[in-house]
């Protein structure tokens, strides 16, 4: 039990506990050492664990991923920070061609227990390339896990679990809510293979993850004020996707709205919607609706609110679904 912590403080605490718990856990990334990370997620850890375990790297994301793979094959558990998700692309070859495959291509002889953390998503008026949500690109890659917390408690519990996991995990931190609320943290890990039902309801199922859950929960409130009872599910682990929880809910409600910041097309929402069609075809009373970013580049910040799904979008989509 802790003081009330913000999400970024919970991340920091999870890293701290993971390092205390396992001497093989090391941190690496740009500006994570004396500077404690541009969002302070690693603040204090270099002083506590020393230069050997908290490594400021040169400015090279391909390298960060590459040495993480190399270390991981030797049993070290690297937790790498990519400063912003917009800069993760140079790491993709290493993540896709090596991290995700090391276990399979050596039939378990070598493994790749690494975590790549990256702040992600829009809404903080950041410069260009600092606000994208490209989780779908990683969700498609076999061998990876993709995890996105939506609260301090889940940030702590999921990150601890991610670091414990013997396989590579992409851990995306919705920076818009890094400091949005505080919670007391119980130092338990949380499972990496289930959705979390944040609110039960029976008229419609709202599915989201990361920062968009704020708007989704707010929309559920608005709907409640109209007498509509919405169930709200935090997907949390995008890959592997726990369709069971979502399907159970939608079999009950018959309706589903999926909310995500990322571009609508070919996004995670499409997989969930398809999964619902595959498993709840007869129970669906209306088509699953996606409330999502447009199929456009994330606009520079003056217009970003026009891109990000808003409460009224979710409410309208829900009402439309109910009226189907």
């Amino acid at each position: 039990m802790t003081d009330k912590l913000t999400m970024v403080e919970a991340v920091n605490l999870a890293l701290d506990h993971a390092m205390a718990n396992d001497p093989d856990v090391v941190l690496l990334g740009e500006d994570i050492g004396v500077n404690g990370g541009v969002f302070r997620a690693t603040a204090g850890l270099r002083d506590k664990y020393g230069l050997k375990r908290v490594m400021d790297t040169p400015l090279a994301e391909t390298l960060i991923a590459g040495i993480s793979v190399g270390m991981a094959t030797q049993g070290i558990k690297p937790v790498a920070e990519i400063q912003f998700m917009g800069f993760i692309f140079p790491a993709m070859e290493q993540l896709i061609c090596h991290a995700a495959r090391m276990r399979n291509r050596t039939r378990g002889r070598l493994t790749c227990p690494l975590v790549v953390r990256a702040p992600y998503g829009g809404g903080i008026h950041a410069p260009e390339h600092h606000s994208e949500s490209t989780e779908a690109l990683f969700a498609h890659i076999p061998g990876l896990r993709v995890v996105i917390p939506s609260s301090p408690v889940r940030a702590y519990g999921l990150l601890r679990a991610a670091i414990n996991e013997p396989d590579p995990v992409i851990f995306l931190e919705p920076k818009r809510i890094y400091r949005a609320s505080k919670q007391v943290i119980k130092t338990d890990t949380l499972p990496l293979d289930t959705c979390f039902t944040l609110k039960t309801g029976h008229d419609i199922t709202l599915v989201s993850w990361g920062a968009s859950l704020r708007e989704t929960l707010a929309a559920a409130k608005v709907l409640a004020s109209h007498g509509i009872s919405a169930e709200v599910i935090d997907v949390a682990t995008i890959k592997p996707l726990d369709m069971a929880t979502i399907v159970t809910s939608v079999k009950k409600t018959g309706r589903c709205v999926i909310v995500h910041e990322a571009c609508r097309s070919f996004g995670v929402g499409a997989e969930i919607a398809t999964g619902l069609m595959e498993r709840a075809f007869t129970e669906l009373r209306a088509p699953v609706v996606r409330v999502a970013g447009f199929d456009t580049t994330m606009p520079y910040y003056r217009m970003e609110d026009h891109y990000l799904p808003q409460v009224d979008d979710i409410v309208r989509a829900s009402i439309k679904s109910l009226a189907w």
Binding site: E30, D31, G33, V34, N35, G36, V38, D56, P58, L59, A60, E61, T62, L63, G86, F87, F89, P90, H125, A126, P127, E128, H129, H130, R264, S265, F294, D295, T296, T297, P299, Y300, Y301, R302, M303, E304, H306, Y307, D312, D313
Partner: protein
């Protein structure tokens, strides 16, 4: 064993503006240096204003170029209009020199794509955020120039700026390697301001100099005092000439210091000691050139006053233009992705426009409703 010969950093003026070696001919024509001085002062005041706009909530995160004005300026000043500048985010002085209005630059950092859109930009590339990716663009621009070049004509030149941290990213090595293999008309200039956010130069690379990364690509490579406009002018113009004559690329490491925080979102006091900063202030380029001009009787307090007033007027107007720029339209979000916008995107645009209309009606209703409750 393959070794690297460490030669001296090219320098003409010491920190106090005194000459450390014979000055080149062109210095005698005072206009160039006075021009450099005026431009640097204007850039610094513009930069200060940009920081102030951010601090007062009128602009987003901004990376100051404080103390590095000379490098960017001299590069831009030595390019021809039809050359291509591939800048990075500390190139405000160079952008202004290329004729790009300050209001464009503010607009960009103010979160508006139109800051990179005006015709004043010509064929220059917009600011590049993903570090070192512009190194590839510059090699590509130079390749385009070479493809279109008519034998016998002087070459147009591409000039690419980047930071010391950027030299660690593979993009830089790949681009240099190509520039060497293809003898491209491109100049790479490293603004070695000693820091990449919180990571000092010494941690960034084990290389004794960053210039020698050019040697690994078979390119002539130089270190130059980045606070010394005369040295910069000499080294950069030689590199541009070389490219212009079709002899290929050059790498220049210009040694400077980042006198500011990394950006307005950064607090350098967390990782940088103030002694180092104080020392660096002694060497900064504007003071140095002012001393030199003063010593030669080419500058005085009066002129300084006039220059500052002129600059402030220009800045004030630019800020007005920036602040008065209306928001982009909803349609703008969609209309510039494809020359031929796909139906699917047109459909999303229609939805977005409808939503906007709806929202405005609702706001209007609420406002009207609100009044009624008064």
């Amino acid at each position: 064993m393959i070794t690297d010969d460490q030669s001296a950093v090219v320098q003409f003026l010491d920190a106090e503006g005194g000459a450390v070696q014979n000055l080149p001919e062109w210095v005698n024509d005072q206009t160039t240096l006075i021009d450099y001085y005026q431009a640097m002062v204007t850039a610094r005041l513009s930069d200060q204003k940009a920081v102030a706009l951010q601090r007062t909530g009128k602009m987003g995160t901004y990376p100051s170029c404080l103390g590095q004005e000379a490098i960017s300026l001299v590069c831009a000043a030595l390019l021809r209009q039809d050359d291509v500048l591939i800048p990075y985010y500390r190139d405000l002085p160079g952008l202004l020199r290329r004729g790009i209005p300050l209001s464009d630059v503010l607009l960009y950092w103010g979160g508006d794509e139109r800051g990179s859109a005006s015709n004043a930009w010509g064929q220059d590339l917009p600011n590049c955020v993903p570090i070192a990716t512009q190194a590839g663009h510059a090699a590509g621009v130079a390749t385009a120039i070479r493809i279109r070049h008519d034998a016998g004509d002087p070459m147009r030149v591409a000039l690419c700026a980047l930071g010391d941290g950027a030299t660690s990213k593979g993009d830089f090595a790949e681009a240099l390697n190509l520039a060497g293999a293809w003898q491209l008309p491109v100049v790479y200039i490293i603004n070695n301001n000693q820091w990449a956010i919180s990571v000092p130069r010494a941690i960034q690379s084990g290389a004794p100099t960053l210039a020698q990364k050019g040697v690994a690509a078979g390119l002539p490579s130089f270190q130059v005092d980045g606070n010394d406009v005369i040295a910069l002018h000499e080294v950069i113009s030689a590199a541009i000439d070389r490219a212009r004559q079709g002899k290929g690329a050059t790498v220049i490491e210009a040694i400077s210091y980042r006198l500011s925080d990394h950006t307005t979102a950064d607090d350098a006091s967390r990782y940088r000691n103030s002694d180092e900063l104080q020392e660096a202030w002694q060497k900064e380029p504007i003071k140095r050139l002012r001393h030199f001009l003063h010593q030669r009787g080419l500058w005085d307090e009066n002129k300084e006053q006039v220059l500052k007033e002129q600059a402030e007027r220009m800045i004030k107007k630019a800020v007005q233009t920036y602040l008065n720029t209306p928001l982009p339209t909803i349609a703008d979000l969609f209309d510039y992705h494809y020359a031929n916008t796909p139906d699917q995107l047109e459909e999303q645009k229609r939805d977005a426009l409808n939503r906007e209309e709806l929202r405005q009606k609702m706001q209007h209703n609420e406002a009207v409703g609100g009044h009624q409750h008064d």
